[in-house]
C-alpha cells in the first residue's frame, strides 16, 4: 500500500544576513508514514524536528527555504505546490496541533467560530449543519455540554480543555494526517495522560496518521509505532518503537534512553557530556562525535551514511559499519 506521506532527502536551510550565513536546520531527512501509523520525531531543541514539520505543511518562516528533497502526500509533491494549492490541503487533509493552545486559539473569537472555520471554508457548511458538526467535534474531544461550551471564549477554559479544542479544530476537516508538535508540554501529568488517551481513541476511530514531535521518550513509548531520532538536522536512527527501546543502535539514542530517570531506580543517570551543537556551526564529520563516548578516529572527519539493519532499523553511525553487510 502506498504510504500517506513520504519525505525523502528533505533539506531546509535558513538564509540570514542576505544569504551570507546558511544554517542547515534540516539536512537530508527521509521517512514515510502509512495509514493510521504514528511516527515519533524525537530530538532536543535545535535538532530540526519543528522545521521538518513546518516544511511538510509549507509554513516555514521567510528566511527558510526548502533546497532539496520531496514531500509526497497522497501522491502529490507538496514542495512543488503554491501557497494557494497548499491552502486546500492544510486544515483539511493535513492538520497541525501546536504546543501552546493559548497561542493557537484566537482570544477574540468564540470556540464555535474557531472550530467551525475549517468546515466553513473547506466543506462550505452553513447554519444548522455547521452547528451540528461543531457539536459533534466537541463531543469527540470530550468537551462536556458542547452546545453551551461552544459559546465560550478560550479564556473561560482550562489549559487541558483548550488543547482539546485545538484537537477538535484539527479534526474538523477530516484529515488523513495530523502533525502534533509537543502538544502536551504545558499540561499537567494527569491531564496529559487523558489527552494522549484521547488522541489514541480518535486515531483508532478515524484511522488518521500521526506525526508526534516530542523530546519526551515516555510519550514515544506510550504513543508511537515507529521512532525517528533527530540530531543536528539529520535522522540519526529510525526504528520500530520496540527495537529502539530494546536495542538502540546509535550512541546518541542509547545516551538519551539512559539519561531518563526510571521510576524506582536510584542509580546515577547516564549523562551526555557537553551541549547540543549549534546548527549554525556544526563540527566536521559526524555531528555527534564531540559528545560521543564511543567515537572512532574517522568519526571526526567523515559523516557516516545510513546503515540498514536487519530488524527494520536504520542508523547513521560508523560503529555499525562492520555489523552490516555491504550491498
Amino acid at each position: 500500500m502506498a504510504p500517506v506521506l513520504e519525505v525523502s532527502g528533505l533539506q531546509t536551510h535558513f538564509f540570514t544576513f542576505g544569504g551570507a550565513r546558511v544554517v542547515k536546520a534540516v539536512d537530508g531527512v527521509s521517512f514515510s508514514l502509512g495509514d493510521g501509523e504514528t511516527l515519533g520525531l524525537v530530538g532536543e531543541s535545535g535538532s530540526g524536528k519543528t522545521t521538518t514539520c513546518l516544511s511538510i505543511v509549507g509554513l516555514l518562516p521567510r528566511a527558510a527555504r526548502i533546497v532539496g528533497g520531496r514531500v509526497v502526500f497522497e501522491g502529490e509533491d507538496l514542495t512543488r505546490m503554491s501557497q494557494r494549492e497548499l491552502r486546500r490541503i492544510r486544515g483539511r487533509r493535513i492538520a497541525v496541533i501546536l504546543q501552546d493552545p493559548m497561542a493557537s486559539l484566537n482570544p477574540l473569537f468564540t470556540i464555535f467560530r474557531q472550530v467551525a472555520e475549517p468546515a466553513f471554508f473547506h466543506q462550505q457548511m452553513r447554519g444548522r449543519t455547521l452547528r451540528a458538526r461543531v457539536q459533534h467535534l466537541l463531543k469527540a474531544v470530550r468537551i462536556p455540554s458542547p452546545e453551551w461550551r461552544m459559546r465560550n471564549y478560550p479564556h473561560q477554559m482550562s489549559g487541558g480543555m483548550r488543547q482539546r479544542i485545538v484537537g477538535a479544530i484539527a479534526l474538523a476537516g477530516g484529515p488523513k494526517l495530523v502533525i502534533a508538535d509537543e502538544p502536551t508540554t504545558n499540561l499537567d501529568v494527569t491531564i496529559q495522560a487523558q489527552y494522549l488517551d484521547l488522541l489514541k481513541d480518535i486515531q483508532r476511530e478515524t484511522g488518521v496518521a500521526l506525526i508526534f514531535v516530542t523530546h519526551n521518550l515516555g510519550i514515544v513509548a506510550k504513543m508511537c509505532d515507529r521512532v525517528a531520532v533527530m540530531y543536528a538536522g539529520k535522522i540519526v536512527e529510525q526504528a520500530p518503537v520496540r527495537e529502539l527501546f530494546d536495542d538502540p543502535k546509535h550512541p546518541y539514542t542509547r545516551a538519551l534512553l539512559g539519561s531518563v530517570p526510571k521510576l524506582g531506580s536510584k542509580e546515577p543517570l547516564y549523562s551526555i557530556a557537553g551541549q547540543p551543537p549549534n546548527p549554525a556551526s556544526l563540527p566536521p564529520g559526524c555531528p555527534f562525535h564531540p559528545r560521543c563516548r564511543e567515537a572512532l578516529p574517522r568519526c571526526a572527519s567523515v559523516d557516516p551514511p545510513d546503515f540498514h539493519l536487519g530488524d527494520g532499523s536504520v542508523a547513521r553511525c560508523w560503529l555499525l559499519d562492520d555489523a552490516v553487510a555491504r550491498p
Binding site: V189, Q194, A221, K222, C224, R242, S259, P261, K266, P276
Partner: protein, 321 residues
Amino acid sequence: MPSPVLEVRGLKKHFAVRRGLFGRESAWVKAVDGVDFAIQPGETLGLIGESGCGKTTTSKLILLQETPTAGSIAFEGRDIAGLAGAELMAYRRAVQVVFQDPFSSLSPRMRVRDIIAEPLEIHTDLARAAIDERVGQVLELVGLTRDVAPLFPHEFSGGQRQRVAIARALATDTRLIVLDEPVSALDVSVRAQIINQLEHLQRTLGVSYLFIGHDLATVAHISHRIAVMYLGKIVESADSDALCTRPMHPYTKALFAAALPSHPGDRTESGTIVGEIPSPLSLPTGCRFHPRCPSAMPVCSEVEPSLQRREGAGQVACHLY
C-alpha cells in the same frame, strides 16, 4: 534523630479575592491549607503535585516572599516569622533558591562573576580578591571553569545557565536550597547532568533540598522522601522507595498511572482519574479529591480525612485506610 533543618507546622496561606472596585473580600483561595513537613540535614524532600496545588506558594512562604496566614516555619529550631535585622540576613544567607527558567532568573546585564558575587557582597564583608576566589570555587563546584566568570549569561546554554544559578545559590554558606522545577526547562540530555550534579553537591556539602516538581520519575530519583500535594494539602508522604513501590492514596496512584512508561512494553493502564483539578475558590466538601476519586465512598464527601500513619514510615490522608 538529628534536629531538622526546616520544620513546617500547620502552614496556611489564604489569598483574598476581591470583586469589583473597592470590593469586599468575597472569597478566599486556600492555596496552602494546613501543611506539615520537616527536612533533615543533607536530605531531599520532594514536593509533587499538579499546577494549582500550592507547591510554589509553599516555597514562597519558606523564602519569606509571602507571610503565612497561620502556622509556623522553623529553621534550625527557630521560628522565622519574627526574624529581623541580622537574624533575617542570616536566614536569607542559609536558605537559597533555584528557579525553573535560567533564561529569566539571571540578569542579562550582569556578568557571571557579578551574579554570583552579589549575595557575597550583601551578606559578607569579604574583600574583592576573596570574593573573586569564592566565585571561582563555586563555579568549579558546579562543574564550570573559573575563566567563565567574566562572561554574560547569553553566552551560555540552558544547562550551563542553570549551573550558574546553582553556583549563586551555593555562594553563601547555604544549608537549604529550594529547587523549583530546576530541570523542567532544560533539554533531556542536559537534565541528567544537572540532576547528577545536584546529587553530587549534596553528598559533598551536606546541603538539604526541597525539590519541587511534577515529573514523578525525576522527583523520585533525587528525593529521599516525597510529599504529594493536592489542593493545598499533603495527601500522602513517605520514603521515596515506599511511595514508588506502594502508593496508597488514590491520587498518588493516579499520578503513577498517568506517569509515562519508560518502555513501550509496559504501557500503563489508562483512564484512572477523570476530570480536572477543581478551582481552589470552591473546594469540594469532605475530601478534596472525592469528585475525581475512583474509589470514593459516601463518607468522603462529608468528612475530610486526616493524615494517618501508613506502613513504611509515612502518612496518608484517606478514608480507605
